[in-house]
Amino acid sequence: MSKKVLEALRMKFGDRVDIHEQSPKRAYVAVSNADWIAVTRHMYEVEGGRLTTATGSDRSTGVELLYHFAFDREGTVVNIRTTLDKPFPKIEALTKYYPAADFIEREIFDFLGVEFVGHPDPRKILSSHDRPADFHPMRRDE
């Protein structure tokens, strides 16, 4: 496992990160909305993780974001998780600091209606052109 990455997260963010090591190659880290951008930026800018993709899902607790950071040299994946409040989920965009997140965050906006504050190009990406602006196909509450 990326012991060094997880130790650095513990050192920098202390109790504010909840780390669960599922297996030697996979870890899941839960953070609050307030720490979200600091932790994801830390993963890319300091630790050199590669954002492979992000999973957005509508769960009973709210809209969950799960960003998957791969550490290719170790062959591990560290997943950063946070849950946003419905009905208007909103969070700062990682795209401002990491261009790879561009399409990924646009997809989550498109299907789940998450507003990424500061995203340079917040358009829908995959759904059809006549989709109503307030309809997001993967939301379960509508």
Binding site: R26, L51, T53, T55, L66, D72, G75, I125
Partner: protein
């Protein structure tokens, strides 16, 4: 004063619908915008209504070329949730089919690249050399595409030992033909003029845009999930990751050409070392949990995330194909280039395209008059006639 040039959504060079808007000043591209979504099929929602077994078949149909990649990735994610191990023979059989897929995908791209730059000989040769690979896939799995080969715990079918000698021979011939193509492409000044220094993606941009596979390796980013994650049988055979530093169209092409040689080596070693024994471990259930599978598909890393709630259907199945992350790198790549290179630069990431038809000439009354071999024979006769008479 800039002019807007639309490409697509249906364009002779891009076989799949994508809409690109180029802003040009004179002949020079100043910016580009890409619109996706014309082929979206809602598979992530559909996957939540299928059982885990059915899901493997569903993801296989994401792409005709990468059908082994997606189904292997999904099974790896399911195995990650349930902690399932795979028998040695299945690991090797999985690797062989996946590398054959890499061969035919890369050769298809080489042909298309020849088509785009107007070098039809490369197109014809490339696609002809690709056929024996599809024949090998058909011999092993029963299908040229959509193999139904992978399942949680192993592979679906076993194959008899006498199937392998013709495939080893086909791999030797394929490597020989690929070396010929490499020789032709790297020594042709016209091809070099068309590819060298065109559409450069710097290493810094490649990392910032998170590009994958040959696109990343052509820009000097040394990533390959086969080596890094060491799934399948990749850590038990001898091969190397091909990296080129230049970042231009030529570098990406060279990566794909040399990777084909490596893939033939992997396949031959896997066939030689293929263990005997079981092909599948029984899977009774996928318990509650979350799992990740990622592998090196021909175009780059393919990534699946599955969340199970303990039922026989996934609660969430996220799928991400490599092209999704490779496409945004088109913008820095095309800026400052000419319009004539714009389509080639787009094609260099190898956007997904599927082709499963066999070639057969049909007369107007519906009867078959010639197959592929007949047409090649006719072509040879015509060439001979031209030699004598011109």
């Amino acid at each position: 004063m800039s002019t807007t040039i639309p490409i697509g959504p249906f364009h002779p060079v891009l076989e799949e619908p994508e809409y690109i808007t180029l802003q040009v000043e004179g002949e020079t591209v100043v910016s580009a915008d890409i619109e996706l979504g014309r082929i979206h099929r809602g598979m992530e929602l559909l996957a939540e209504e299928k059982t885990f077994d059915q899901d493997v078949f569903l993801v296989e149909r994401i792409c005709g070329i990468c059908s082994a990649s997606h189904s292997w990735t999904a099974t790896l994610a399911m195995e990650d949730i349930a902690g399932i191990t795979v028998p040695d023979r299945a690991r090797y059989l999985r690797t062989i089919v996946h590398e054959l897929e890499r061969l035919h995908s890369h050769m298809l791209w080489v042909g298309l690249a020849g088509h785009i730059i107007g070098y039809w000989t490369v197109f014809m040769w490339g696609w002809k050399y690709r056929e024996p690979v599809l024949d090998a896939l058909e011999a092993i799995t029963g299908n040229r595409n959509n193999y139904a080969w992978y399942c949680p715990g192993g592979v679906r079918r076993d194959v008899p030992d006498d199937i392998w000698p013709p495939i080893v021979k086909a791999m030797d011939e394929f490597a020989e033909k690929t070396n010929l193509l490499i020789d032709v492409i790297l020594n042709d000044p016209v091809i070099l003029c068309r590819l060298k220094g065109v559409g450069i993606l710097s290493k810094e941009d490649a990392i910032a845009y998170g590009v994958l596979g040959p696109t990343a390796r052509g820009s000097g980013v040394d990533i390959d999930v086969r080596r890094d994650e060491s799934y399948g049988a990749y850590d038990e055979v001898d091969w190397k990751v091909i990296v080129q530093p230049d970042g231009d169209c030529l570098a990406v092409g060279v990566v794909r050409l040399l990777e084909m040689i490596e893939a033939t080596k992997i396949i031959k070693q896997c066939i030689k070392k293929l263990p005997k024994g079981e092909i599948r471990n029984e899977v009774r259930e996928i318990p509650r949990g979350e799992g990740i599978g990622h592998i090196e598909a021909p175009r780059g890393e393919c990534f699946h995330f599955i969340r199970s709630n303990g039922t026989n259907m996934p609660e969430r199945h996220k799928m991400r194909a490599p092209t999704f992350l490779n496409i945004p790198s088109y913008r820095p790549r095309v800026k400052g280039e000419t319009i004539s290179d714009a389509t080639l630069i787009f094609a260099v990431i190898d956007p997904c395209y599927s082709c499963t038809e066999r070639m057969a000439a049909i007369d107007s009354d519906g009867s078959r008059v010639a197959n592929g071999h007949d047409l090649i024979k006719l072509s040879h006769q015509r060439t001979e006639w031209l030699r004598k008479n011109l």
